[in-house]
């Protein structure tokens, strides 16, 4: 009985879908548009977050100490810095470690290795590698370091070069989040309204049929389900089309949002999110379709 109802109502929903060609096209395109906008926002914020994380992992403040500074002094500095609540980690990189890292970074470049071996003493400086909990705090930490009691021993603070990148990412993420929430709400509402109206029109087209169904004793579910299935079909179609359009569009617009130099970095990563985004779209699309259908059919089922 349940199986019969579902198979029959699914069939008639499918029929509704292809027999009302132009209305179906209208409903699918508006749903596609809504999904597309929603998922572009999702992708952008995912990729901006990814990019930020990537850069955050790379960036740090390197405080280089003058060659003659004793290790104990550096360790004092380290424990001092660790007390700042903004600091996530502060790694000590000794001269020896700096040298071995330098060597391993330059394997395959014998002339460089030869050059460094030619020098008797280790030419590299010991350093403390500071990472902040939040990228906005590097400014603060850098200032604190520069004004600390140890400034006599500090050879240089390597930080300025990242500042622009960090600032850029921070503002981008903030903009994406703010406009994202706004656009998300707006377009969800528009999509519900339009799908609701389109489905209401198709239901209006089926007025006599619904009347006859009720006349011959169809249960409310039997009247309702074809339109619910129609909504699901709208949603699935819209999700697939939106998915096909999504990646070219993202490729097109990311340079304008995050700056062209980081595009490759960002786009490499969100391929992983394909399935997640697709599932989100299907769920959102069918939900929009089904909710609109249920709203539109309600007044036909009163008595």
């Amino acid at each position: 009985m349940i199986f019969l109802t579902i198979s029959r109502t699914f069939k008639s929903g499918l029929q509704n879908f292809y027999r009302n060609g132009s209305l179906s096209v209208a409903a699918v395109s508006i749903l596609t548009l809504a999904l597309l906008i929603i998922s572009v926002i999702i992708v952008l914020s995912i990729s901006a977050n990814l990019g930020l994380k990537y850069i955050q992992d790379k960036i740090d403040i390197r405080v280089y100490f003058k060659s003659e500074t004793e290790e104990s002094k550096i360790m004092d500095f380290r424990s001092e810095v660790m007390k700042y609540k903004e600091v996530k980690s502060a790694d000590y990189i000794s001269k020896d470690r700096a040298l071995s890292e330098f060597k391993s970074n330059n394997v395959g470049k014998p002339e460089i290795l030869k050059a460094i071996e030619a020098v008797d003493e280790n030419p590299l400086l010991a350093s403390i590698n500071i990472k902040a909990k939040n990228p906005e705090q590097y400014d603060l930490i850098a200032k604190a370091v520069e004004n600390s009691a140890y400034k006599e021993n500090i050879a240089s603070v390597n930080y300025q070069q990242y500042k622009l990148v960090i600032d850029r990412f921070n503002t981008t993420i903030k903009t994406i989040r703010k406009t994202g929430v706004f656009l998300f709400t707006l377009f969800s509402l528009i999509a519900i309204l339009i799908t609701f109206n389109v489905i209401r029109m198709t239901i209006y087209n089926h007025g006599t049929e619904i009347e006859i169904m009720r006349l011959v004793g169809a249960s409310n579910n039997f009247v309702r389900l074809p339109f619910v299935f129609e909504g699901i079909i709208y949603g699935c179609f819209a999700a697939v089309i939106a998915m096909l359009l999504l990646f070219p569009i993202v490729k097109l617009i990311t340079p304008y949002i995050v700056g062209s130099s980081y595009v490759a970095l960002i786009q490499a990563d969100f391929g992983k999110y394909f399935v997640l985004i697709f599932i989100t779209q299907i769920i959102l699309g069918t939900l929009l379709g089904v909710v609109s259908s249920l709203l539109a059919i309600r007044r036909y089922l009163k008595t």
Binding site: I212, M213, V216, G217, S219
Partner: protein, 228 residues
């Protein structure tokens, strides 16, 4: 089978229209009852109360001893499957064939395909449409369309057939054919309730006639004539 007790129906809206006023009657199983009256006398309202499309303002309605005013919305479809309804405008689905139109009534109530394939040809045989099963409503005459509607009403094997002006769109000969068919169905044991304002038909049937005027029953004769 049907009992109306002190039924009053007032349509509230711009102005209050009294459609039925203190209507009381009873219809026994197997009867053939004509309900006559001018337009607006309350015939359609009375029929809609039986199918529970409308609820009365006050009074009681029993169908096979069951108080249908108290039916939950979920039970209404099952109530309606016990009643076959026929209208002046046939209400057939234009994109379905005669066979599909009749089968539709069984499909929506969850009958198995096997039963549908067995019942539909039988019913179409009874109404005399065996040779038109593959035709669409637009390809057959008005009388044949109404026969299709009757077949659809009968396919649930209902206890009651309600015919609301079934001959309104038909020429006299087709109309008489439809009435003959209704009489035949009645003979097979189904109660028939016929609303009409065609004098000749009522006078020829020579069955019970209930006459409505301005929402009241003004006459109820067991071998009635059309007289208003």
């Amino acid at each position: 089978m049907i009992t109306f007790r002190n039924i009053k129906k007032i349509y509230t809206g711009g102005m209050n229209t009294v459609a039925l006023d203190d209507v009381t009657f009873e219809i026994a199983k197997g009867e053939f009852v004509s309900i006559v009256g001018h337009s607006g006398a309350g015939k359609s309202t009375l029929l809609k109360l039986i199918t529970a499309e409308e609820k009365p303002t006050s009074g009681e309605i029993f169908f096979n001893g069951e108080d249908i005013i108290k039916l939950a919305p979920k039970q209404l479809p099952y109530h309606r499957r016990r009643i076959g309804t026929i209208f002046q405008d046939f209400k057939l689905l234009p994109k379905k064939t005669v066979y599909e139109n009749v089968a539709f009534a069984l499909e929506v109530s969850g009958c198995l395909n096997k039963e549908i394939e067995k019942s539909v040809p039988q019913i179409l045989e009874i109404v005399g449409l065996s040779n038109k099963i593959e035709s669409y409503p637009s390809e057959i005459s008005g009388g044949e369309q109404q026969r299709t509607a009757i077949a659809r009403a009968l396919v649930h094997r209902p206890a009651l057939i309600i015919a609301d002006e079934p001959t309104g769109n038909l020429d006299p000969i087709s109309a008489w054919g439809i009435i003959q068919l209704l009489l035949k169905i009645n003979k097979l044991g189904t109660t028939v309730l016929l609303a009409t304002h065609v004098k000749d038909i009522v006078n020829n049937i020579k069955r019970r006639v209930i006459t409505l005027d301005q929402g009241r029953i003004i006459r109820d004769h067991s071998k009635g004539r059309y007289a208003i």
